[in-house]
Symmetry: C2
Subunit: 283 residues, 2 copies
């Protein structure tokens, strides 16, 4: 999915949010915003949004001198999700359709996207869980998803954000774990999950976990490590979680299932769905 | 009120909205956005938001070749307001406190601010009228306003938007009309009211109406006509309507009453009020 003009005000807003999260120094806030205005002005709109996202967040880390401005908030949402995990796992296991319930919860976890909403509160996470458990599943291709899991041998699960990765674990536990490799980001960007978050979520105990060698908030294949690209090419199914992975992989000729909550109007328009809708969709 | 960093994404969003209202040509949309990114990058944050607003909308008119991109939508809201006028006038006259009811309705009309929300619908106008008629008046200095009307001889009423100016008429009819001059913008910018709208609202029949000689979406005194400045300096009370006039006049040493609905978080923070609050406040 290419960059839309509507993404540009959102990039600026996101960079200001991120700068404020990183430091109280208003001069740095201004430098970040001016830097991003410069980047945006020279933008190639044929690229995907994470291409500029990567540049913006590199610039923020440079200007603030912080390697991981979202560290504290990532921990906060990892902790909130881990606290919910036992109750949600029980809910999945005891539900009539554990796979569907786990998909719904994985989608609910996708609300923990601080690129979109840096001020997210735990109460909104709780509300989103309830909405996703009872919501209309018209955007979810459950039967196609069930079939593809049986037909494929080598599944690459692209994780999205910290905290959310605990919700991914709920889903991964309902999948054929022996076929699955989970990939996280190579280094911090926004609140995207890295190896540290995967370990906190307990994933390496149940599946192989790798990183993609990149600090882009999505999966820009050209700049991922060769090792990750080998996994990607070998996989006969990719499960791509979240908006950033949708944005970067939606036009790729590959067997991909996207799982996300459509949280912004641009993504929703591109998907042909309503804002807020739960998406489980084959590419 | 100076420009806040939060205003910048809003400028970009507003320029894209305005470009889309003016033309379907996506190349022009992109040119407008890139032009505004350039303007924003060289921005002097000590200026008021209408200083850049004026530049943005000049650029949009230049690129689209349209002298007044909001012409159709201004007419739509003039018509909607004129249709409501007889009923609202009856409501004012028959109310227990006609002046307060008229102030509430003038504030309600301030929702017709297409810089903030280009897709405003008539239904939202109706909802806002109801909210303002019954809303909590803690942000309204009614008694101080009543007194100042008696104490002053020469009142300059700075109108804000088309459509809204019909709501201003409801208020002006409750003021000492012989003391009042109403000023509109010198030429079109966003949906700000010009002489054409004042005439449609029937204002010249009840008060003197002048224009300020400027195309800024607020009152930037330095660039207004000398004739307007004479009126402004002579007035012993200025009634300044809407966010643009608040932004440009809030730091001025003058007897001013601001009347507006605080529609954006930046203005609300500057005023120390909640978003959506009704404001009638002495400078």
């Amino acid at each position: 999915m290419h960059i839309y003009l509507d993404c540009i005000p959102c990039f600026i807003r996101q960079s200001l949010d991120a700068a404020r999260l990183a430091t109280k120094d208003v001069h740095i806030h201004e430098k970040v915003v001016r830097g991003v205005l410069g980047l945006a002005n020279n933008l190639d709109l044929s690229k995907t949004p994470p291409v500029i996202g990567q540049k913006i967040h590199r610039r923020i880390r440079e200007l603030t001198g912080l390697e991981d401005p979202y560290r504290v908030v990532k921990q906060r949402f990892n902790n909130a999700a881990l606290k919910l995990y036992p109750k949600l796992r029980k809910l999945v296991v005891e539900s009539e359709d554990p796979l569907e319930t786990a998909v719904r919860l994985a989608i609910a976890g996708n609300i923990i996207d601080l690129g979109l909403k840096s001020q997210l509160q735990e109460t909104e996470l709780a509300e989103t869980i309830n909405q996703c458990l009872s919501g209309e599943p018209s955007g979810m291709q459950m039967e196609a998803f069930r079939s593809v899991l049986n037909e494929t041998e080598d599944i690459l699960y692209l994780a999205d954000n910290a905290g959310e990765i605990v919700f991914d674990r709920l889903l991964i536990e309902q999948l054929p774990t022996e076929k699955i490799t989970v990939a996280v980001k190579g280094s911090p960007v926004i609140n995207d999950a890295t190896m540290e978050d995967a370990i906190l979520a307990g994933l390496p105990k149940i599946v192989e976990v790798i990183d993609n060698g990149s600090d882009a908030p999505g999966t820009i294949l050209e700049i991922c490590s060769q090792s990750f690209k080998d996994y990607f090419n070998k996989a006969d199914l990719v499960i791509a979680k979240g908006q950033g992975n949708y944005e970067t992989l939606s036009d790729m000729d590959k067997n991909i299932f996207f799982i996300l909550k459509a949280k912004c109007p641009v993504i929703a328009r591109n998907l042909g769905c309503e804002v807020g809708e739960m998406i489980l969709r084959r590419s």
